[in-house]
């Protein structure tokens, strides 16, 4: 019995058929979603703007973290399951430094934040830079000690990083406790900004995180397309053996890519620790987010990571607010919408939107 449909597999591209049933269904689903959002937006435009901004800023954070994940995978085929741990560790390290060196007691606790401690700009930027660099170095150590000698055994490498993530999670629980904490943004930064249409939005979320993500995105784009390093990395993604045969020290490039990838996780941790919070479970949460982002966008593609992060962030934000139908509140089923996003993308493109066969 011959397989009737050209069995779609990861090795061949999806058939470019015309209006198949699947495409019609997809178009119908997206039309329903757009109409639904349009109705909601017309009901309360201000809320819609805030929710959208929430989604976009969340997406910005997802992008910072997932871009490191996808960079490492793209070059080395290493699925770094400890990426979430590096994220959380980066946040905790910055928090410890901020607490230890920059706690500036104002004495009477009269400041507006009510906590009685103030942090200047340095008290946020120095921990950010140091923690980020340390995480980069931790990443390189992990790569050199545990992953360098078993290059190509991708399952084994995934298992090793899972083992590391278990140890990291437990040790962080021991060292930093189980209570959620957050990193304080500099006290003299404004709490929020005003946007046209009488919308107020958090300054840190809307300006710092979004700005950082855009800068990082542009920086990575420049690095990948305009520098020798990027050229080597892109060549390595396509054909590692050829690159090393041309006399390029691939091991050095791998270490550099791992440094950069881990560094982005640490940076994400500091941003996320300031924007949301740090606690046990955040590592899982950001590992999942990174996974979904790269599954949607396609492993190894930076553009895919951006699109995937945007899709995930917006879907999360809208589903958290707009899943109310008349009197029935279904917002706590919002995770199903995320699942649906994953299903739809994988049904159309098993390798993600921008994924290419290995």
């Amino acid at each position: 019995m011959p397989a009737k449909t050209a069995a779609p597999d990861t090795t061949d591209r999806p058939p470019r058929a015309g209006w198949s049933a699947r495409r019609i269904a997809l178009a119908a689903v997206s039309a329903v979603i757009v109409v639904w959002l349009a109705i909601k937006a017309s009901e309360d435009l201000r809320q819609f703007v805030v929710v959208s901004l929430n989604g976009i800023t969340l997406a910005a954070l997802f992008f910072v973290v997932a871009s490191g994940f996808t960079l490492i995978f793209g070059l080395m085929r290493v699925v770094n399951m400890a990426h979430g741990s590096l994220y959380l560790l980066g946040g905790y390290l910055a928090l410890e430094m901020q607490d230890a060196w920059f706690k500036d007691e104002t004495g009477l606790g009269l400041s507006l934040t009510g906590s009685g401690t103030e942090y200047d700009l340095l008290g946020w930027v120095v921990p950010l830079i140091l923690a980020t660099l340390i995480i980069g170095v931790v990443g390189v150590i992990v790569q050199q000690v545990f992953l360098r000698w078993n290059q190509g055994q991708d399952l084994r490498q995934a298992l090793i990083t899972i083992a590391l993530s278990v140890i990291f999670a437990d040790q962080m629980l021991a060292a930093f406790g189980g209570i959620s904490k957050d990193i304080k943004a500099p006290t003299d930064w404004p709490e929020s900004i005003s946007l046209p249409g009488d919308v107020r939005f958090g300054f840190f979320r809307g300006v710092v995180v979004l700005g950082a993500a855009v800068l990082i995105g542009l920086g990575l784009w420049w690095l990948m397309t305009r520098t020798r390093f990027g050229k080597i990395v892109r060549a390595g993604v396509d054909d590692r053996d050829m690159v090393s045969a041309l006399g390029i020290n691939v091991q050095l490039v791998f270490a550099a890519a791992f440094f950069l990838g881990a560094l982005l996780a640490g940076l994400g941790g500091v941003l996320g620790g300031t924007m949301i919070a740090l606690g046990p479970g955040e590592d899982t949460s950001f590992l999942l987010n990174s996974l979904i982002v790269v599954i949607i966008g396609g492993m190894g593609s930076l553009g895919g990571a951006a699109i995937g992060a945007l899709a995930l962030g917006l879907v999360d934000a809208y589903a958290d607010v707009y899943l109310v139908f008349g009197g029935t509140d279904l917002t706590n089923y919002s995770i199903l919408v995320t699942f649906g996003l994953l299903v739809v993308v994988l049904a159309v493109r098993p390798l993600g939107l921008f994924g290419r066969p290995a």
């Binding site: 019995m1 011959p2 397989a3 069995a7 779609p8 597999d9 990861t10 090795t11 085929r77 699925v79 545990f146 190509g152 055994q153 991708d154 399952l155 084994r156 995934a158 298992l159 090793i160 899972i162 083992a163 590391l164 993530s165 278990v166 140890i167 999670a169 437990d170 040790q171 021991a174 060292a175 899982t284 590992l287 999942l288 996974l291 979904i292 790269v294 599954i295 492993m299 706590n332 089923y333 919002s334 995770i335 199903l336 995320t338 699942f339 994953l342 299903v343 994988l346 049904a347 098993p350 390798l351 290995a358």
Partner: protein, 352 residues
């Protein structure tokens, strides 16, 4: 890399099951319940993972998600504190829970089956974590402190007072699962599955529907995982979202890897090891500052896992087999050309 198409060693199986059947006569109730019963149902969960990995080449992390669905479905369908407490009789609820979990498993399989290798692992991991978040959010189904005091079938009695009936029930299910999966691997279906694992392109050329075959295998594994899920609720008498989180997903993976991803019996070897470490490591663990101590069970588990993955990709079973090979070789003198291939190792991927 052809793991374990070999014959089942029936005498060995009979001896092991016989010893297990006699265990309650010799051992304390505590040991029977906390070590043996727990290893048996954890082993069933791990066996579903190993089945997919050994015969289908698919390392699925969705198994805990599926067993969570089965457990939650059962706990919600029977009388219990929390959840929707539909107050069905336990047996219909068991059947319904398994059907629901297999249906969910088939959906997961249908989505993931077109991916292979590490992509498959990531997608199934995402499924498992999504199931966890789903049940944490939907308190109508998971209660606020989990679903407690779940009604059990009279067959297992009151495991809190007398753990022996539940032990025998779990033992019977575990043996049936083992025999059935071994049998399935040698049917035409199982042989084709192993063909897909090694040479998907050739199998497709032969006319096999690769994706559908993978989905069916995933459904079979989902059935086994569902059994483990229901048994876990019978064992704990409760289920919480926290008991099906990422940590549990990883624990089942650890059990499978420690036992050996390439042999079904490894599931129970790994589960027993896990349960023993779980219980006794707290007593002898020295306290080293904040880093090590009775509280730091997960660190010990992680280190054991790491060491096994680093040293022996075939797990404990692989280690034993390698030792036996060495012994055989020495006894027979210099090896001929029939050197058995080393345990396939965790090289789950085709060379790029």
């Amino acid at each position: 890399m052809t793991p374990s198409t070999g014959r089942t060693s029936w005498p060995a199986l009979v001896v092991v099951v016989g010893l297990a059947a006699l265990a309650p006569l010799v051992l304390t109730d505590f040991f029977v319940s906390v070590i043996l019963t727990k290893s048996l149902w954890l082993g069933i969960a791990a066996a579903s993972l190993i089945f997919l990995s050994a015969y289908g080449g698919m390392v699925s992390l969705a198994q805990v998600g599926i067993y969570g669905v089965a457990g939650m479905a059962f706990a919600n369908l029977v009388a219990a504190d929390g959840g929707s407490a539909a107050e069905w009789a336990p047996w219909p609820a068991t059947v319904a829970a398994i059907v629901i979990a297999v249906a969910v498993g088939l959906v997961f399989g249908a989505i993931a089956a077109r991916s292979v290798g590490i992509y498959f692992l990531m997608i199934t991991l995402a499924f498992s974590v999504l199931v966890f978040y789903f049940f944490s959010q939907v308190t109508q189904l998971s209660g606020f402190g989990g679903v407690n005091n779940v009604d059990l079938p009279s067959l297992v009695g009151e495991p809190g007072q007398d753990p022996v009936p539940l032990y025998y029930t779990t033992l019977v299910v575990a043996v049936l699962v083992f025999v059935a999966l071994r049998y399935a691997s040698r049917t035409a279906f199982g042989l084709a599955l192993q063909g897909l694992r090694d040479e998907p392109a050739r199998m497709r050329a032969l006319g096999f529907n690769v994706t559908r075959h993978r989905i069916l295998a995933f459904g079979l594994a989902a059935f086994v995982a569902a059994l483990a899920g229901v048994l876990s609720v019978w064992y704990n008498r409760r289920i919480t979202p926290g008991s099906i989180n990422l940590a549990q997903t990883i624990d089942v993976l650890i059990i499978a890897v420690v036992g050996g991803l390439y042999r079904l019996e490894g599931a129970w070897v790994g589960a027993l090891t896990y349960a023993l470490i779980d219980n006794y490591s707290r007593e002898w663990t020295p306290t080293v500052g904040n880093v090590l101590g009775p509280e730091r069970f997960n660190t010990i588990l992680g280190v054991v896992f790491l060491v096994i993955v680093l040293l022996s990709p075939g797990g404990l079973v692989g280690l034993w087999e390698r030792g036996r090979e060495l012994f055989d070789k020495r006894r027979r003198g210099p090896p001929g050309s029939v050197a058995t291939p080393a345990p396939a190792g965790a090289t789950g991927d085709a060379p790029n």
